[in-house]
Symmetry: D4
Subunit: 214 residues, 8 copies
């Protein structure tokens, strides 16, 4: 077979392999998911569009699909009280929501306690400090922003925890499909900002989850 699942990942890395849905058929995804389930692993698959999700749900009726995040989860029905740590996902504008939600779903799947702060981009500078209480004691933050990607730098000046910055492709022209926000975040004058790939809500969430749940 062309897939060779890494079934030892949980022992080494704490969490099982996550399925990258792009360019895989519904059948392939369902098969990998089943194999993981049969080993007792919780399943997360990312980058699943609605049509593919519908196909998969025929094969795996127990899956939970989130259409904003475009993720699919199975088997992580954790009572809230057992959630660990405290992660806040902060996003700059309404259009950054899908990426923020991919981080959110990833954190739920990891069993982390997570809350959301939306639409507090820098053009309305009073909005962020008003909500400081919601995030200043977090274990880790995920900060999602497109266009000029300035939000992580500003958030960085308010907190003592690591920030995982996720640039998005939101914008047009000289945003270069997210490169502008990516470069901005890499050059942040705040010391506590680490960066992941453009639109990689999954990675931002995963890293924050590692910090918060360990």
């Amino acid at each position: 077979a062309s897939a060779s699942i890494d079934l030892d990942r949980t022992r080494r890395c704490g969490f099982p392999e996550v399925i990258y849905g792009e360019g895989k058929t519904a059948e392939t995804i369902a098969q990998i998911a089943s194999e993981l389930r049969s080993r007792g692993e919780r399943v997360l698959a990312t980058r699943i569009d609605l049509a593919k999700a519908n196909e998969i749900s025929q094969l795996l009726p127990e899956m939970m699909y989130d259409s904003t995040a475009r993720t699919l989860r199975i088997g992580d029905d954790l009572p809230d009280a057992q959630a660990k740590g405290n992660v806040v996902v902060i996003s700059a504008g309404t259009s950054d929501l899908p990426v923020a939600e991919e981080a959110h779903q990833t954190l739920l799947w990891m069993g982390a306690r997570v809350s959301m702060v939306h639409d507090v981009g820098v053009a309305g500078p009073h909005r962020l400090p008003e909500r400081l209480a919601e995030f200043e004691n977090a274990d880790a933050l995920v900060v999602v922003a497109g266009m000029e990607g300035a939000l992580p730098s500003v958030v960085g000046g308010y907190v003592a925890c690591p920030i995982f910055a996720v640039p998005t492709s939101v914008g047009y022209g000289a945003n270069l499909g997210g490169i502008a926000a990516l470069l901005s975040m890499l050059n942040s004058c705040a010391s506590n900002v680490a960066v992941v790939n453009i639109d990689a809500g999954f990675k931002g969430g995963y890293l924050a989850g590692l910090v918060a749940t360990q």
Copy 2:
């Protein structure tokens, strides 16, 4: 001769031609300056290093040289009381000073009233609002920043005047010699931010001066 000075520029554009010093000899600069002086024009030359300035001062002893801005001015000894408008030059970090000072010298030469707010970059988010009174009623702002170039976006959320953003080449690695800050400013989510070339303190100052003195 290889130089063909645009002697009609003041009538059309309000200010005479400014001498771009890079790649011109001290003799050429002195000669253009003299020709402009003989027409009664005020002289500004930019991008003049100290060695060249010393050479020029032999030929044109009345010139005023600013070694931070690397500019040279002649004949604009304006009484302060006659200065027009109100421009504030805001800079993010100490290393952005030379670019901010190039804007400053340009504004003085134009006869604009100008003040400076230094080192209020976004990593210390309380520093900017503390100084709001100094710039909230300006006719135009020049905002100078390197690294992630986030400052103009943040300033943009506080004011009702146009902002001329000047990206600087301050930083390293993925700052790409100032491209990161430039892209950041071009993608600003603040509506009132226009952008000039990297390290172009002269242009930022000139545009703010046009708004303030007209």
Copy 3:
């Protein structure tokens, strides 16, 4: 809710928040517009395609839609006599029209007096000087051009007001989706040229409007 409107923007910045329509549903746009209207604000939304505009007009019948500019305005039915200042929007080629019209609509919404000069690109060098009388006394200019983006530099040599240059993505191949025109404008040898993002007719118009109406 995922949107957190900046309702204090008019006090700080002179004009209310403008709605960026890309990636928002008709419902979300209508809801934000209603909230702004209920506060007595004038509404501008940009990047609204025809289909979305039709949906919104069901919810907000009083909206005025411009299909070239792809903008939507509400509540700014200003008598012409009250328009302030004098802005001219100049464009290089026929294909630059949509971007020029986005600037136009923005200026109308701001209450600025505005006129248009179309298709005066540099390949027909006599066309621009013939129309000099229409723009030489403007308070600010918006100059829109694609391909090599040379027009703002040429216009810059004729006027004493600030120019807000808008590069467009018109062209092909080495135009790099507008990057060629953008770089051209950033490197203008005219001192009075500031630049905004590719295809950002809104920003060019907004900045010119700030200068003209203040």
Copy 4:
């Protein structure tokens, strides 16, 4: 004065402002350091070359300079026993040493417990697993690599903690001054890899230190 130190940073962010030495004079650095010392803060300055370090040591004889890392520290003479957490800095080749050492010095200054694993790049694939015991239980890793920047992805497959990947400019030609390694790390198929700027040993160390000491 042109410097406006952020003296409240420790309260908000856990650690005081760090001095970026590039483009600052020895006098300016000594003055900022003294001001921080007088508030009881520990001092870290980065990107200080040997000549500048010698000048500063005249003014601040108590400083400790590391010529590989090009950093300067004051006042953090912490007994080893009080060091917190467990960070390992892993580097790919001998030429990556200066960047790895910048991370090392930063971690010492933060009071973290830190150890080093050098020259275990992927071309000798047996070298890394041989040293697994030294880093598999770390709280956070800093992984430093130039050229193709593959090391963080490989390390990522062995551990359950967050990895802060630091691309270096080591290499030539199509390494594009470190961009190749940077892109490689951003696109890592390992989920636990976050990235900082090229040659930013300081940032990689700082983020790992935040995770380990909190």
Copy 5:
């Protein structure tokens, strides 16, 4: 006619001209294939989508089409026993399969002996050494990887034969359509890694085939 087939290629280069299917009509492809067949040449055409393959099969019923590789072969029905050399095609992830299969088909057409090792990317570092026996004695390897493109560097450390690395466009954001993997492979610290164009499974296969069959 607009096509001028290089009918002498086999004498000079060992193998006939291969048809690049992109942007050619089914008729043109069938005609070139027939002309090659009439000279007794084996035919390979690449980048043929399913619809075009169906059209061509009307005209050339003897063709063999592979829908994963998107290639078409005619006339190379070689008994396995006559296959020469030993090439292994190794791929990193399931999504890299089409590119790996293009290499595979090319090698079959050349008459090389070839086997496949799938889905052994670096995030599961134990998977590759487990399969070492399958490839350590190859004459040449083709290694296919997207995202960070680290696999060829790791494989390079295990073998004594040349490696032809094929970057793929698999990934998103800062993968830049495969440029990230391409740069990674060009900067490999393994000495035995040569590189071909992004998604160029054909070229990787062809070069390995030259080494193995000569």
Copy 6:
């Protein structure tokens, strides 16, 4: 009206304005064409797809459309005997045909004598010298090539006339939409190679036509 045709172009530049069809409606194109016709000018329009051509032919039945070149001409029905000069259009591969044909149509419209040499790319190095007699005495050459864009450099070594090189977007991956061929041609070690935009068959033809017909 939004179009301001440059009706004096023939006097100044020898040929009338050419209509760039991209982003213009059939009506606009027909109207500009009619205005040019009414002045006695020959008409050329480029970048007209088949659907638009059909619409235009309703309004201007006398137009001649070439579906490979995607151009439209009116009123240049020149007897062959009157054609001037001698231009040869040479192309590298079959997929470069549309661009070569755009050059061809442009040259016909200019009244130049023109012939075509197709599919003589460098991978079959004997093909070009075999056809030397067809182009060695040309007044000017247009050389069209995609992928590595090497053909103009090779042709340059055989002839004494200027070569106008046209890079095409033919290829994939690291061809970067034609940038690879463009850079290759700009860096040609042959002295007689000038370059135009990617896919700009029109421009290559126009320049060769100027040389040949003057």
Copy 7:
């Protein structure tokens, strides 16, 4: 020997091989020049700095060196009356002079009649039309410009001959070492503009010389 001079070039291409001086020793250059002289060829060498020129003049006292153009010529002491054709070299700013002079020297060496028009960049738009009589009847133009590179487009609108545009690296920041001017020229809306490499005065001159002298 490592040099293999192309001694047949004049027969095929009309002019002998030109020596590219960069990275060659004075001895190598003198030796190639002597070999060309012994065949009766005129010699041109480019990119020779003053120090190297001095060394060469020891070995070849008859050479003529131009320190602005950094070129060296031998044996082309043509009486002016025999010069052929009519080329004008137009440059935008004083700093573009060295590149314009490289074109000038190349044209003299080719035996072309050539004149110079300096410092007529677009910021002073009246300067160019004032000098129209000097260039409107040329056989070919070389137009040299840095920064935004707009001059060739403007000149293009005035003339009926081919224009060879030479972008220069003059400028800073977003000029990207001349890339901005290069892209600008490649995207010219004037039909008669062909482009050569950045700072390639030699090539611009050579191509214009081919047109003018043939």
Copy 8:
């Protein structure tokens, strides 16, 4: 110590680790070389400038330094008769010599039979076929070229062996430090061209040596 030499490399990869000299001190290089020698390995070090070579020769008098290739070899004094295979290194221009020589030295160190063909770039198209007999029966070719990098594509059309193309940084302006040649080679229309990093003579030689000596 900071160096962890891969002493098992010869067993796995056929040849020992090669020392990359850039950024290592003479002491470090001498020490690694001695350790390799003490294991009976032949030593190759690359990117050693003359000054460093002189220092090293104090410590390791038996080393052989080549100042064009900037390489250092020890212990490979192989009788010519034992040399294996047949590699030809072909270079385009005189300035590409240092890179060609790095390949040459690498091949000698590997014990391969090697010959050189210099200065046969495409601008003199007759030079290459004249020397066909010298390389048409090679086991592998290394082809070195800067500027437009066309040579490997042309050579590819003449031979049946694999070609390892080495782009060089020779050229200026739009050569982008070798990127133009690199892209050209990656997009070669010849099937038998694989590519290594810019200026990587070592890698080109190493790969050809693997093919020829196995």
